[in-house]
């Protein structure tokens, strides 16, 4: 193979790539935050005594988890407007990714909740707390700390999934990489650098999350 590597066009466009990376991180952060809320509701729903709530939660989780995320993204962006729900590219993508994250986190939270000792709730009851206060002050904080490692993994997955936003022209890293590729024909260089940025970003995120896990973990 005789190929002259030339990265100059990529360096010239570093600002675009940085912007794209920033937007990807932002999308992942917002989505996991919303997804945590949805996931918590769905997890409690799956464990609810009420059959209808349980059914709704289980239907949501299995429907989303059995649909490819790219299809979800395209559905929300192209089909929902036809049904009267028109969102801009970025809100539409955040909506999709949050719904998607919610379904995966619901499973994580559900198993976290099931694994908690029954005595925690009873100890809360014994000091006169209501079920809601027990959830807010005891059950949810303890469960979240226990599932932090899974939460980190989910966040990294979500961050990588933000590359799919390129499909609806959300200007994140993959979108800009494609743009640079098309404009410069520097195929190998562009995608090498894009891949490298993802790898490094994921390592750095993982490192930060590990620090966070250690700070927030229940001390033993």
């Amino acid at each position: 193979m005789n190929y002259d590597f030339n990265f100059s066009v990529i360096w010239r466009n570093w600002e675009l790539l940085a912007q794209g990376l920033g937007l990807g991180l932002f999308l992942a952060l917002v989505s996991i935050a919303i997804g945590c809320g949805i996931g918590l509701l769905a997890a409690f729903g799956m464990l609810s005594r009420h059959r209808v709530l349980r059914w709704i939660a289980v239907a949501y989780v299995s429907a989303i988890r059995n649909t490819p995320i790219l299809v979800l993204i395209l559905f929300c962006y192209f089909a929902l407007p036809q049904l009267g729900i028109a969102l801009d590219k970025i809100p539409s993508f955040i909506f999709t990714l949050s719904i998607y994250a919610g379904a995966y986190l619901a499973e994580v939270f559900r198993s976290g909740l099931v694994a908690l000792p029954k005595g925690l709730r009873e100890a809360g009851l014994a000091i006169g707390l209501t079920e809601l206060k027990i959830k807010i002050h005891i059950i949810i904080p303890v469960m979240l700390r226990n599932v932090l490692p899974s939460l980190s993994n989910n966040f990294i997955s979500l961050f990588k999934d933000t590359s799919l936003a390129a499909a609806i022209a959300v200007p994140e890293l993959t979108f800009y990489a494609r743009k640079i590729n098309v404009e410069s024909f520097r195929v190998i260089e562009t995608w090498m650098v894009a891949s490298l940025i993802y790898v490094v970003a994921c390592y750095v995120i993982a490192w930060f999350l590990r620090q966070l896990e250690q700070r927030l973990a229940v001390p033993r």
Partner: protein, 254 residues
């Protein structure tokens, strides 16, 4: 003097299994009553009914003159609202076999939680009360430790402080030393005894017969969901009347 706790004809089943078959019992302020009996006799269930961790189908429990858990509406028995029951539960303090401390909170925050969230106390007031009770159970130096950093005996002492800081009318102890290594039992029993000496009304389920004998004003021997024999400790341990109790005591370590 009116009794602080009156249990009348209490029945409780788990499915088809009737575990309490009509319990009658009264306690005066300052009484220390020990429930003894083999496992499955219903003593823990009885304790759990008193703070409504278990529902019961028949009979009544009155705490300081107030019927707990249920009200009667023209002959119909209804469970009280969750909020109402939560308020009633706060009138009893409970220490569990497995301690059940909140693992994400320091010792002092464990004690404060009920004060700030149930009693709506200001933080600094709750802190002062929590400090007082941690001091009392000998845990003040460990106030900023998390449960995972404490021994079983220390956790149990914090758990007792957490319960008693709520200023309950009666303290319930559910086999509080059963999960502890033998060398840690003493420090917990010392705390319980200290509270008893202080006039706290207490109902305890225990397998520590020597302790029950020392600390109780009355001992209740349960068998198959009924009170089989009861009386002052000297009588129960010194001159048991029934074969069943004699057999039980013979099999228990003294």
């Amino acid at each position: 003097m009116s009794p602080i706790l009156t249990i009348t004809d209490l029945h409780k089943s788990f499915g088809d299994l009737e575990v309490l078959k009509g319990i009658d019992m009264t306690m005066q302020k300052g009484d220390v009553v020990s429930l003894i009996g083999s496992s499955g006799s219903g003593k823990t269930t009885l304790l759990r009914c008193v703070n409504l961790l278990e529902d019961f189908e028949r009979g009544s429990i009155e705490l300081d003159g107030e019927a707990i858990g249920y009200r009667h509406d023209g002959g119909e028995r209804r469970r009280l609202s969750e909020r109402h029951i939560a308020r009633q539960r706060a009138m009893t303090g409970m220490a569990f076999q497995q301690f059940n401390l909140f693992p994400h909170m320091t010792a002092i925050r464990n004690v404060m939680l009920g004060l700030t969230k149930t009693k709506k106390m200001a933080k600094d007031e709750a802190y002062a009360i929590a400090e007082k009770w941690l001091e009392r159970v000998g845990m003040i130096e460990r106030r900023d430790h998390f449960p995972g950093q404490l021994s079983g005996g220390q956790q149990q002492r914090v758990a007792i402080a957490r319960a008693i800081a709520m200023n309950p009318r009666i303290m319930l102890f559910d086999e509080v030393t059963s999960a502890l290594d033998p060398e840690l039992v003493k420090e917990v029993l010392a705390v319980v005894r200290d509270l008893a000496d202080d006039g706290m009304t207490m109902l305890l389920v225990t397998h520590e017969m020597r302790f029950a004998r020392d600390v109780s004003s009355k001992v209740v021997f349960m068998h198959h969901g009924r009170i089989h024999e009861e009386g002052p400790p000297e009588q129960i341990f010194g001159a048991p009347e029934t074969d069943r109790l004699r057999g039980f005591l013979a099999n228990s370590e003294m």
